[in-house]
């Protein structure tokens, strides 16, 4: 039909417009998906631009095709409406609607429309692109492209590892990448020092202790100036960070131990002394005095065993507050003290309590060890303000030494107890005396036979308690079952002891 042909040229133009609109919509969808997927992948720490682009392309193409097919694809009626907007006064739309009518007035109307159509130029049909759509496209494009600039966390981690920078101290991604680096060496160092200060500030230690740690960082800052390469500087910072972290942990441990001991009457004074302890000799003396008082209290106590058990319980709880830091000097000292008091509960050979006459030596050792451990805490301001690296090394060495000393002493004491126990066994076998008696400590329970005990058991204070308790208990129960001749009071004492050791 000639009437339709007249509109075809406009239809083609509108198709181009529809394609452009669909492309714009598709691009908006593309950029939106890229932006969203980039954010999601960024949050998931698996940022991969390629995935975002592929996903965005698929969504963009599909949505563009759908929007063209169902919304923008022009029909002859839509074309007529657009052409009418050029000043045809609804002639075109009327013509299209009544194309099949053959009456005179319709023919006349079509002639009139074609006549009018001939007077307007094809160029006068301007392309109508939605301004808001273009603005949205621009914004989506900028946001999506900026999302590419999001730091790649996974690559950051790997680059950080390559540069031996601690993961806990966040290093800018550009730190080890010279090609993309915009930060100067000085800025990197400053950022790392700032992270250290943040680490200190966030720790749950008191202000005084924080100030001491800040002084360490300040000294580190001065020391860094003498180093030439970035790698050396980062290594020094890393070393200092580890030391500071260790100091904080030790301080927290000291505080928790002190608080725990304060909960028991018998160790309240000791707990307070540990909480107040600094490198100051007078304050350390308070620890010695507190221990001396406990010892005196035990010696004069009418309920010696009960008080001793309470002391052991208090020490156990204090030790248990530091599950991870069980090798720390203070814990080690307390563990040794506890072991000496119970004559090493891990040992299957010694199931008896300390006798009063041994208190002096045990308390003296404990006093020395605990004071040594507390001396090595970071309260020594003068040391902290010295050379940072040297300080760290000294501190590590001191702690190692203290640990080694404690272990040596424990071994000696165990050896001594073993010897005493053998002698007692011999005496018991000779006399056949199996009664506990009123004085308790005079008649210790009989020792297990050599054949019942694994002689290779390592008694080093480091074996987890729960690993050996159940098996040891079973062995003791078997032993009791086999030895029916054991006196009832001895049997009860053993059972009470096992009950006391049971984890509550």
């Amino acid at each position: 039909m000639p009437e339709k042909e007249k509109l075809t040229k406009y239809l083609k133009k509108l198709k181009i417009e529809a394609i452009i609109k669909s492309v714009i919509f598709g691009l908006i969808a593309f950029f939106a998906v890229v932006l969203l997927s980039s954010l999601i992948l960024f949050i998931a720490h698996t940022k991969n631009i390629l995935i975002s682009i592929i996903l965005g392309t698929i969504v963009g193409i599909v949505s563009g095709i759908l929007i063209f097919r169902f919304k923008y694809k022009p029909t002859i009626l839509m074309t007529a409406r657009r052409v009418d907007s050029l000043g045809l006064d609804e002639r075109a739309i009327t013509m299209v609607e009544f194309l099949d009518k053959e009456e005179f007035i319709y023919k006349k109307q079509r002639e009139d429309t074609i006549e009018k159509l001939d007077t307007i130029s094809e160029k006068s049909l301007k392309m109508r692109l939605s301004k808001p759509a273009l603005i949205i496209l621009g914004v989506a494009m900028i946001l999506a492209l900026s999302s590419f600039a999001l730091p790649n966390l996974s690559s950051e981690t790997s680059s950080s590892n390559n540069a031996s920078v601690p993961s806990s101290v966040e290093v800018p991604p550009s730190q080890t990448d010279d090609s993309t680096s915009e930060l100067t060496e000085e800025e990197i160092i400053q950022q790392l020092l700032e992270k250290l200060r943040e680490l200190i500030e966030k720790s749950a230690v008191d202000r005084e202790f924080k100030d001491q740690l800040y002084a360490v960082v300040d000294k580190l800052e001065v020391d860094l100036k003498s180093l030439s390469t970035l790698e050396e500087k980062i290594n020094l910072i890393e070393t200092t960070r580890e030391e500071i972290q260790k100091m904080i942990e030790e301080e927290l441990l000291r505080l928790s131990v002190g608080r725990c001991l304060k909960q028991y009457d018998i160790t309240r004074e000791l707990g307070s002394a540990i909480l107040a302890a600094t490198a100051d000799e007078s304050k350390l003396e308070q620890v010695a005095i507190a221990l001396e008082n406990i010892k005196t209290k035990l010696k004069i106590s009418e309920n010696y065993e009960e008080d001793l058990e309470t002391l052991i319980e208090a020490l156990n709880e204090a030790i248990n507050t530091a599950t991870k830091e069980e090798n720390e000097a203070l814990i080690q000292a307390l563990s040794n003290f506890r072991d000496q008091l119970v004559a090493s509960p891990q040992s299957k050979k010694h199931i008896r309590k300390l006798e009063k006459e041994d208190l002096d030596i045990v308390f003296e050792d404990a006093s020395n060890e605990i004071q040594d451990a507390l001396k090595k805490s970071p309260d020594d301001t003068e040391e902290k303000q010295g050379d940072a690296s040297q300080d760290t090394e000294d501190l590590g060495k001191d702690l190692d030494d203290a640990l080694q000393d404690a272990q040596d002493k424990l071994t000696d004491l165990n050896q001594k107890k073993d010897d005493d126990g053998n002698e007692d066994d011999d005496n018991n076998e000779d006399s056949g005396n199996t009664s506990g008696g009123e004085d308790g400590g005079d008649n210790p329970p009989p020792k297990f036979d050599e054949g019942d005990i694994d002689s290779d058991t390592v008694i080093d204070g480091n074996t987890p308690y729960l690993d050996v308790f159940d098996s040891s208990r079973e062995e003791i129960e078997e032993y009791l079952a086999e030895h029916e001749d054991l006196p009832e009071d001895v049997r009860k004492a053993i059972e009470a002891y096992l009950e006391m050791l049971k984890v509550k």
């Binding site: 006064d89 005179f104 319709y106 006349k108 009139d112």
Partner: protein, 350 residues
């Protein structure tokens, strides 16, 4: 229409319209929109209510139309003591040749083709309502006997908007039967000068016959054949529905300013009148512009303003403009000073 429409018919339509306007111009100076609207209504077969202050040429226009269309013309001066029988006619007792008395119907002035109901709001509602049947069904019922009026039949009524004492506002049912309500405004200086000069020569109308009843009916039939696209028809219906505040799709202006909107007669009038206007403009289809232009005379007397509109000095024409603007953004002329003032007031969207 029995005969097939042809090119000559369309040419004649245009020629006759031009001739009608040129003849009316001989008697009526200015008032082009009023004349234009009145002629459209007459071709479309609708009644017209002319509203204007005294002396602006309402009666003269109607008298001139009576001459131009060569149709029987009757003038009824509406007064408070006018009775329905004075309009419709009544049965009177007459004596036949044998001297017997019998009732004989004496037709009233309404049995003409063009009725000038001058100052229609001065008559009582009872008398006003005597026109209802004639205006809608073109019949008159007296003493139980219905009599058909001649075709074509038009009522061209006038009313004075300022002298409200002793008047009876037309009921809505009567208002709805007028296709157009045209506002006759004061002439401008040039027009006034022409009026004075013209009437110095003679006060008589000088217009000559331009169209007879048969030709007028033919023109009406031709106009009815004009096609209306579905989009345009939809728009006309939307326009009417938008005036109804409680409809499914009311315009915001209707909800805010109107008590009630236009009846279905408004929709019929819009399309019928738009077809005539399209032909007069030399088009063979109805356009949105036809509807927008005719919406004012067709809707202004069919919608009722609420108290809020009255207090804000909003007129019915303002509301119609707001509705058109809402349905067809961009139709308000921003070069028009009056419109710009109202845009500033927030009445119209730019």
């Amino acid at each position: 229409m029995t005969k097939e429409l042809n090119e000559k018919d369309l040419e004649n339509f245009k020629k006759k319209c031009d001739n009608i306007f040129s003849q009316i111009e001989r008697d009526v100076v200015g008032q082009k929109e009023v004349v234009y609207g009145t002629v459209i209504a007459m071709i479309a077969g609708g009644n017209v209510l002319l509203e204007g202050v005294p002396g602006v040429g309402k009666t003269r226009l109607v008298r001139s139309l009576g001459r131009v269309f060569d149709l029987p013309f009757a003038r009824i001066q509406f007064t408070p003591d006018l009775m329905p029988a004075d309009v419709t006619g009544t049965n009177i007792i007459v004596k036949d040749d044998q001297g017997n008395s019998k009732f004989s119907f004496q037709p009233g002035p309404i049995f003409s083709s063009i009725i000038l109901a001058d100052e229609i709001n001065r008559a009582t509602p009872k008398t006003q309502s005597s026109l209802l049947e004639a205006m809608q069904e073109h019949t008159v019922t007296v003493m139980g006997v219905s009599r058909k009026l001649d075709d074509p039949f038009f009522v061209l009524a006038t009313q004075n908007p300022i002298e409200q004492d002793g008047t009876y506002p037309l009921p809505e049912a009567q208002m709805d039967r007028f296709m157009f309500k045209l506002i006759v405004t004061y002439p401008n200086k040039t027009e006034l000068k022409d009026i004075v000069n013209m009437t110095q020569k003679t006060m008589e109308e000088t217009a000559e016959v331009a169209c007879n009843a048969k030709e007028l009916l033919e023109m009406r039939e031709i106009a009815k054949t004009i096609p209306v696209a579905n989009d345009v028809l939809d728009y006309a219906m939307d326009l009417v529905i938008a005036t109804q505040p409680e409809s499914e799709k009311p315009a915001k202006a209707s909800v805010k300013y109107l008590r009630f909107g236009a009846s279905p007669r408004a929709g019929q009038a819009l399309i019928t009148a738009a077809k005539v206007r399209a032909l007069m403009c030399g088009r063979f289809n109805v356009s949105y512009d036809d509807l927008n232009t005719l919406a004012y005379p067709i809707l202004r007397h069919r919608i009722k303003l609420n108290f809020e509109a009255i207090t804000e000095h909003i007129t019915t024409d303002d509301v119609i403009k707001m509705i058109i603007q809402e349905l067809n953004p961009g139709s308000v002329d921003t070069n028009n000073e009056e419109d710009n003032k109202k845009i500033k007031k927030g009445l119209f969207r730019k």
